[in-house]
């Protein structure tokens, strides 16, 4: 009788310990260890844009023969290439090249926008940032440039985007 009681008490105690261990394991690893996505004195620059490059060629008038092959409702005076130029972006931080990326136009006919998303982790503090962007294969060199000095606080996110309506390259 006494032995059965001791066994039963041990079983109950064992259950309590195992339930507690289960709860503790859940509670502990759902809070700890804490995680730092970024070191204390770092900031983040996100270079990201969705921008359609210029067409790869000029529009030209249709020849009479080409026009004749088209249905009457599709005859236009000029024809333009669908394909867009790839967009190349270069970012220098503190005079050092930090990023060079060429984004191809999307779509099966390469007539969509080019997209870039790139994270650059930099030390917080003052940074000289130069951004160059080329979106026209017919032009020599870069078609858009921006150069500025920013002071980045620790953990700050600086977004480098492209917005034609706002004059091209933007930093926000």
């Amino acid at each position: 009788m006494r032995e059965a009681l001791v066994t039963s008490a041990r079983a109950w105690a064992g259950q309590a310990v195992l339930y507690a261990a289960f709860a503790l394991a859940i509670g502990l690893f759902s809070h700890w260890p804490s995680y730092r996505p970024l070191d204390a004195n770092q900031a983040l620059i996100k270079v990201s844009f969705v921008h359609a490059g210029k067409p790869v060629g000029d529009c030209r008038p249709l020849t009479a023969a080409e026009s004749a092959k088209l249905p009457p409702n599709m005859r236009a005076p000029t024809i333009c290439p669908r394909e867009r130029s790839p967009v190349t972006v270069e970012v220098d931080i503190g005079g050092q090249a930090a990023l060079r990326r060429t984004a191809m136009p999307s779509g099966l006919s390469k007539d969509g926008a080019s997209a870039v998303y790139q994270r650059l982790v930099v030390p917080a503090g003052e940074q000289r940032i130069a951004v160059r962007l080329s979106d026209d294969v017919r032009a020599n060199g870069f078609t858009h440039r921006s150069e500025s000095t920013v002071v980045l606080k620790p953990a700050q996110v600086l977004v480098i985007d492209f917005d034609a309506e706002k004059g091209g390259i933007t930093l926000q």
């Binding site: 041990r10 259950q15 195992l18 289960f22 394991a25 690893f29 996505p37 996100k46 990201s48 977004v159």
Partner: protein, 499 residues
């Protein structure tokens, strides 16, 4: 390759069994949580559904209002809101843990192959669905942890060439996070669990009497532990999301969000590689170490009277009933689906025609196993049973009954103990046995799910076919025991000798 897998499985199973026995000592095998991992995962899923429904009712599903509405829960009178948040989060953690352990246990027991392959393969997709639903839940709060998880997930997905526009662009500035984006968050967190439930339906298709809840005491204990944890260690929000800065220090839920640090510590593509390899392996496992196909149950039309007992007892829905070809209209016959048959023989033990008292040189029954027929079992007793000895009926998956062989002990190992028609106990006693010891796997540990339960119920006259009440109960014993627990049988044997 196969040898390596089997070696790893054997070593792992030894370790697992030791732990499981430790839990048996505290909970008893019937309430051992390690024997109810699938049901515990379902219980956690139900808790998530119940707590989530209330949370959704109070959630302001807008970018600007979500954080405020969830934070308000932590300040409700009586802390019910805090308890609710804790129950929801900790249930998700419990689901992740029990799901992971469920997969490990099933693999260690070789349950990924053979007739169980369908259940295994339909179970694998439930893992990413559960993970997606869990991760999506963090976004809804739209605090710094949600911000981090949403961006990390978007950047991780962007590593694959899926979208022309990177998903992460949705999180460049606060102005870009719109209420419409929150609708997507809600869809992920509610729509994906609905898909998970649908997938669970497939997962359970090929088993009968699917157990989706653990025994009541275990369920109550688990819920109490989760609620106690929610009260003792409340879930609190981080600061509201602010996309102009990176969160500094996060209290990460490592059970659910480990993929983000993994992707950052390696690379998004490397993390996809790890995840892809893991799932490819899970899908490939049934073919990497296949099990030899055992002969399946065979129905003898002349001896099947359509009583439906095998249909009721089959744990894997391998038996259906069809019109009997030889008898009058309205009579039925059992039909075995070979692809679903586990070759356990439980059907043979359920068949009323399997009684050894039937006359005739050959004992033909309604449904039988070609590799160990009921007739072979009866012949074994006729030939080998010495008067005054004790017959030990066991199964190939539990205690090795052959290890008990000694003068005066006749071990008979069956495919599953429930293959034993209960009349065999009486037959052995009438044939001169001093006693009969029946052993089966521990409750919750039966290789064929219901072997232990059906055997116990048949011997206790709670299920047909049953052992007749006239049998002297002092001369037979039923002892559930797992592999390696031969000592439990030895003491039972001694008890029968002393009786």
């Amino acid at each position: 390759m196969r040898g390596l897998i089997e070696s790893a499985r054997r070593r792992g199973l030894n370790g697992w069994t030791s732990i499981e026995r430790g839990f048996d000592a505290a909970f008893g095998s019937g309430l051992n949580p390690l024997r109810h991992l699938g049901a515990l995962a379902c219980l956690a899923f139900m808790l998530l559904g119940a707590s989530g429904a209330v949370l959704y009712a109070v959630l302001d599903t807008s970018a600007a209002g979500a954080w405020r509405s969830i934070e308000a829960l932590s300040h409700t009178p009586g802390s019910w809101g805090s308890l609710l948040r804790g129950a929801h989060r900790y249930s998700a953690d419990a689901l992740a843990i029990s799901l992971g352990l469920h997969i490990v246990r099933e693999w260690l027991n070789g349950h990924e192959r053979g007739f169980r392959r369908f259940s295994w393969l339909t179970g694998v997709p439930l893992v990413p669905l559960a993970a997606a639903a869990a991760i999506g839940g963090f976004w809804l709060n739209w605090d710094q942890l949600g911000q981090y998880s949403a961006i990390a997930t978007a950047e991780w997905i962007d590593a694959l060439p899926l979208f022309a526009t990177p998903l992460a662009r949705n999180f460049l500035t606060d102005a870009m996070v719109s209420d419409r984006l929150f609708s997507l968050f809600v869809f992920v967190h509610i729509g994906v669990p609905l898909l998970l439930m649908f997938g669970l339906w497939f997962h359970l298709q090929r088993i009968t009497r699917a157990v989706v809840l653990p025994p009541r005491a275990l369920a109550l204990g688990t819920v109490a532990a989760l609620l106690a944890l929610a009260g003792a260690w409340p879930i609190t929000s981080h600061a509201p999301a602010a996309l102009a800065s990176v969160p500094q220090v996060l209290r990460l839920d490592w059970w659910l969000l480990y993929i983000h640090p993994l992707a950052e510590a390696s690379s998004p593509i490397a993390a996809w590689g790890v995840v892809g390899t893991a799932f490819a392996l899970l899908f490939a496992l049934p073919w990497l170490a296949p099990r030899e196909r055992m002969p399946v149950a065979v129905v003898d039309a002349d001896n099947c009277n359509g009583c439906r007992r095998c249909f009721a007892d089959c744990p894997y829905a391998a038996i259906t009933m069809a019109p009997h070809p030889n008898q009058r209209v309205g009579r039925e016959i059992a039909v075995v689906d070979a692809d679903l048959c586990a070759s356990c023989g439980i059907c043979a033990g359920a068949c009323p025609s399997s009684t050894p008292f039937r006359s005739g040189a050959e004992l033909a029954t309604g449904i039988d196993m070609p590799q160990l027929t009921v007739d072979a079992m009866r012949n074994r007793l006729r030939v080998a049973l010495a008067p005054g000895s004790i017959v030990v009926f066991g199964c190939d998956h539990g205690v090795r009954v052959e290890s008990l062989r000694s003068p005066g002990v006749l071990p008979v190992s069956l495919l599953c103990t429930a293959q034993l028609p209960p009349a065999f106990v009486e037959y052995a006693l009438r044939d001169g046995a001093a006693g009969v010891l029946v052993t089966a796997c521990r409750e919750g540990g039966c290789e064929f799910r219901f072997g232990t339960r059906w055997t116990a119920q048949r011997l206790n006259a709670e299920r047909e076919p049953h052992l007749r009440a006239t049998v002297d109960r002092r001369r037979f014993a039923f002892v559930p025991a797992g592999r390696g627990e031969e000592s439990a049988l030895k003491s039972a044997l001694q008890g029968l000798r002393d009786a």
